[in-house]
């Protein structure tokens, strides 16, 4: 909670850039309201998981950016090739990621990289729509899954 409060306060100070008492008061007020709303929505139910994962996120992002660039190139070539050689498939991906936060990261990572979109996620099984067979095969090799699993702490 304190982490979020700190982030919100720093964000407000950086963004407004005006340090009058009224504006600062408004900032403090909106930080507290946001915190309250987040708590009501159950945002902090997973905070212990989140604290353990957050330090390993930047490394994962770097890898994800590489993957995004690669798959963007593939999709761009697909779009621009005159015969439009797409070959859509829907695959089921079993995942070893157990916790909700990890599953969210996995699903969003899959959607984020062009060529694959998560359609549904249900009890360690994801339904993924892929633009062509190659991206489906790459997905089923399960490197994303392994990477996200290694984000999770052993339990």
């Amino acid at each position: 909670m304190l982490l979020l409060l700190g982030v919100l306060a720093v964000a407000w100070l950086l963004w407004s850039g005006i340090y009058k008492p009224v504006v600062l008061g408004l900032g403090a007020f909106s930080c507290v309201v946001t915190l309250f709303l987040a708590r009501q929505m159950g945002f902090f139910d997973h905070s212990s998981e989140f604290h353990r994962i957050i330090w390993r996120l930047p490394g994962y992002w770097l890898w994800l950016v590489q993957e995004i660039v690669k798959s963007s190139w593939d999709v761009a070539r697909l779009v621009l090739s005159p015969s439009l050689p797409i070959d859509p498939v829907v695959v089921r991906l079993k995942t070893g990621v157990r916790e909700e936060l990890g599953q969210t990261i996995l699903g969003n990572s899959i959607t984020l990289s062009p060529g694959t979109v998560t359609l549904d996620i249900h009890e360690q099984e994801l339904l993924v729509h892929c633009i062509d067979r190659r991206s489906a095969e790459a997905l089923l090799q399960g490197e994303v899954d392994r990477r996200v699993q290694s984000l999770e702490p052993e339990s």
């Binding site: 498939v89 695959v91 979109v117 729509h129 633009i131």
Partner: protein, 109 residues
């Protein structure tokens, strides 16, 4: 040194602009809803990454860079959530994805 940074940021911004263009062309060319979404995600992610990195290089080590980075992060975090919501809504409302002949039945639905 300035020139190198400039050239790098121009390249990145050009790549971003091209991604937007290709994404747009893709949305028009693709045959069905789900494959259109793939083309749109090109605009969503690659363009965001390239354009914002290019702009950050232009801004240098200033407050603007921090803000640009934050905007990029928010876009990248919320984009896939929106795409997922869209795809899931389409799936639950019964729009079947157009699928070519399945190869192995245990993997392909």
């Amino acid at each position: 040194m300035m020139l190198v940074v400039d050239i790098l940021s121009w390249i990145l911004m050009l790549v971003g602009a091209l991604s937007v263009l290709i994404g747009g062309i893709g949305v028009l060319r693709m045959p069905d809803f789900y494959s259109r979404m793939h083309a749109a995600s090109l605009t969503d992610t690659m363009a965001t990454l390239a354009l914002f990195t290019g702009m950050m290089l232009q801004a240098g080590l200033t407050l603007a860079t921090v803000k640009l980075f934050a905007i990029m992060l928010f876009l990248l975090l919320t984009g896939p959530t929106a795409t997922y919501a869209l795809a899931n809504a389409a799936l639950t409302s019964g729009l079947k994805p157009r699928v070519s002949v399945p190869e192995s039945p245990e993997n392909v639905q």
